[in-house]
């Protein structure tokens, strides 16, 4: 009986592994097709603009809220800690490094994974279920060029200014809290920020924007294209897209920081 159970488990693992490898292969080919469609960007510029509005302009409020929230909290908590060591004047430096290198881009990535990624997954999933994607193919239009490439281009363009906005809002909310909560002179705060920031700090932060744009757009769109099994299938593919892209954003955040900081 134990042997039968073990064999069943072995078979299940083998099937899962085969399925995983096939999915990875499909995802790789899907990503290649999306990048190969870049020369068609001129033809689909209206779609790029639409997607830029969705992932850029419309995402400003959520990016601002998360950046202001994390900047304020960071200033309060780090300020309390530095006060114990009599190093409150270092608040500007510690907050700016955290916001610009890590928390600004990371929070923006997670928020956009939830907002832009879920929209992609649900919209493309619904199109897949209702055979609209098959209709595109049947009538001679490449669905990846029409639906995925504009999303990817828009995300690559818009994630950079959103990262800058996230950094800006995070830093200014931290400065506001430093002045009004910790009674720290703004001159001292900003003097600890700008002269001490090195180019590598900006490279780390801003390099994450295109990496996150690629991860979020391709993972959510691939899951939308893979939706099967009616409306429940759309729900499943959307959730899968958000969970996988958020996880990959966290992993990529660590590795981009590690690689850039070790090599610059």
């Amino acid at each position: 009986m134990l042997l039968t159970f073990a064999r069943k488990q072995e078979k299940a693992v083998a099937l899962w592994l085969k399925d995983f490898i096939l999915t990875m292969q499909e995802f790789f080919l899907f990503s290649v097709r999306a990048f190969k469609a870049f020369p068609k960007v001129k033809r689909y510029w209206r779609d790029v603009l639409d997607q830029a509005t969705i992932c850029g302009t419309d995402s400003v409020p959520i990016v601002l809220v998360s950046a202001i929230s994390i900047g304020s909290l960071l200033a309060i908590e780090v300020g309390n800690l530095l006060e114990d060591f009599g190093a409150k004047t270092m608040l500007g430096r510690s907050t700016s490094l955290s916001v610009i290198r890590e928390l600004g881009p990371l929070l923006m990535g997670l928020m956009l994974s939830a907002r832009f990624g879920s929209r992609n997954g649900a919209e493309l999933g619904a199109m897949q279920i209702s055979e609209q994607i098959d209709a595109l193919r049947a009538f001679g239009t490449d669905p990846v060029a029409k639906l995925v490439m504009p999303r990817l281009v828009a995300a690559l363009i818009m994630f950079l200014p959103l990262t800058a906005l996230s950094d800006f809002a995070g830093l200014h909310s931290a400065a506001y809290m430093a002045e009004h909560y910790h009674r720290l002179d703004p001159g001292i705060f900003w003097n600890a920020v700008y002269p001490r920031l090195a180019p590598k700090d900006f490279v780390v932060g801003f390099l994450k924007a295109p990496v996150f744009a690629i991860i979020i757009t391709l993972v959510s769109s691939f899951n939308g294209f893979s939706a099967r099994g009616g409306t429940a299938g759309v729900g499943r593919s959307t959730i899968k897209g958000i969970v996988v892209s958020s996880g990959l954003v966290l992993i990529a955040n660590f590795y981009v920081s590690k690689i850039v900081l070790e090599n610059m």
């Binding site: 209702s130 055979e131 609209q132 098959d134 193919r137 049947a138 009538f139 001679g140 239009t141 490449d142």
Partner: protein, 244 residues
Amino acid sequence: MIELRNVSLKYGDKEILKNISLTVRDNTIKAILGPSGVGKSTILKLMLGLIKPNSGQVIIDGTDITAMKEANLYSIRRKMGMVFQGNALFDSLTISQNLGFFLRENLKLPEDEIERRVTEQIQFAGLEGYEDQLPESLSGGMRRRVAIGRALIFKPHMILFDEPTAGLDPVSSKKILSLISSLRHKNNLGAVIVTHIIDDVFNVADCVAVLYQGEIIFDDVTEKLHLSQHPFIRSILSDNILEL
């Protein structure tokens, strides 16, 4: 002309099509009849190259598309129009935009030519006055007519219909069937109709292929269906079942 030669297809361990061969000649209406879930719609997708068979060949106007790359298939697909079971209209676009969508996408036609073709299809489908409506505001029969109009807009040689009357009331079904019949007479078009409704076959099809358990058990002119001795066909005809 569309030819399927010794085509087999599997989904996982399930064998959907077993070595089937099928020919659809130009300017004829061929029905593919079979119970639901037997793989009829899959045959249409094979004809368009939307899916690839595990073995066998799919030949369109003498060109083997079986191993053709996606990018090369687009020009072949434009020779055929497809009417999907759920219509597959773009729900965020108006009826006119739906009809003109693929012309704007794929052909570099002047805008007035696109407008002319859209108006032609609106009139053909009897949808004057609904040009600026979204698909969701139309009835099932009207949406199906828009889908037929969209399939015709490229002026294809052949139209593929996936369950054209499924889910429609008897009046709408009759209108759709007469629209399909008129396509051949007015536009000189051929058609493949996938259906599980026997009445549709006798109403419009010149010839019929019956798909049963992944195999073609009958493939001849519609009138000869009554002469078949296959137990499945005998049972559906003698029991006078209207839908499989």
